[in-house]
Amino acid sequence: MQEAEQSFAPEAYVAAARPLLGLEIDDAWTASICANLRVLAAAAALITSFPLPDESEAAPRFEA
């Protein structure tokens, strides 16, 4: 995952995802959106690198 994170190119990803999501994105916003995506990618790496058993389902209705 670390490799995936390092090779992740947020600018290209944003450009590709924008029409899929139907978002109009001003070029001036891209740097900030990409910075946020990098933080999210790092968070995702922490989660996907943690092994969970297949049986570990998300609770359908979370209760504390």
Binding site: W29, N36, L40, A44, I47, S56, A59, A64
Partner: protein
Amino acid sequence: MSGPIPTSAAAIAAAVAGRRRKARDVVADVLGRIERSDPRVNAFTEVLAARAFDRADALDAALSGGATAGPLAGVPFAAKNLIDIAGLPTRAGSKINRERPAAQRDGSLVRRLEAAGAILVGALNMGEYAYDFTGENVHDGDARNPHALDHMTGGSSGGSGAALAAGMVPLTLGSDTNGSIRVPAAFCGCFGLKPTYGRLSRAGSFPFVGSLDHLGPMARSAADLALAYDAMQGPDPDDPVATTRAPEPVMPLLDSGIGGLRIAVAGGYFARGGDPEAFAAVARVAEALGAERTVALPEAHRARAAAYLITAAEGATLHLDRLRTRPGDFDPAVRDRLIAGAMIPAPFVERAQRFRRWYRNAVLDLFGGVDVILAPATPCRAPKRGQTHFVLDGVSLPVRANVGVFTQPISFIGLPVVAVPVWLDDGLPLGVQVIAAPWREDLALRVARHLEQTGVCAAPIAELT
């Protein structure tokens, strides 16, 4: 009756119930405080004088006629502006929501507080759509920290903390998805209760992240928190995650002390990545409670990451249509976070939800050996308004995304927390999280009460300078 109107909710309720004070006089006093202080603090986005006087007059008439006073008789309060108030659009800190139709009725918690005799006096400033830890708002102006007006209140319930610290009202309502009650409580030096997920109804409030959203009270004392909390408990079919448990009143237990409670300090993740003062505040509370044990919440850093992902993705899903049609009407900082959130691949979010269950089970195991866990509320004191970065453990980090590092792993699994204010010196306050097992708000409130009564924690009214 002469003399000043009391400033605590409990004392106001006692005076009004005892017919020593008219609710109208209490409301007039509070409106005067708001008029004098709010131009400098900017906690309020609406002041509801006519409505408050109408309620006060009705209460005074009922009490004169021999009616029984409710536990919050005549207590003025204000609500974060994501909670519905009949006749107003629920703006949730945004520009866009001001075009929504006016709410038809008050949110559930407002109705429950008023049923107990409390009187709503206004709506409070907040970070846009609650995606905020700063208390800054580009549309309504920043809420200002009454203890240092050039510093942040914390957010997103910034107005809720500021209104208390400035002494404008004794009780406010806030919301907490990742720390939005606990952070402003810490920065503004007051008490805040984030109850167990599902304990208090969220019906009639504008959502942010349904998986993580909580509503709760803030106050200047543990007793006032407990009074309000008790009045708001109970099932509510209008909130799909509201508990079906019957109310479990805390007030009768509040002065039970801490005897027999097993109290530990959260180590590991919660003992690094912050300023030394944040940990000094925890140490002071721990010493006062005789807490010598340390426990580690396993994988807390991943819990924070998972909360971060779920928040971004669910928040973006909620706002996708607005992001498509009106991106220019958002606070740019919120918009860019939400757009990034819309682009998170679904497997990451689902994995974060699956991890949530694992982490919940692991932390519940800890509560087999401990009743209460202490942790910092924030990694630092209130930064300056407009400050975008801070240095934690030698690393420069964005403020907006990182103020909640210690609150997120707790709300992620819905644990009840009372944030208590600690004053280490003449500087700004810090907050400590008093964390209990699910549905044990009573323990966290008992500990907060003990800390208050032993002088370890206090929520003084700021002198605006």
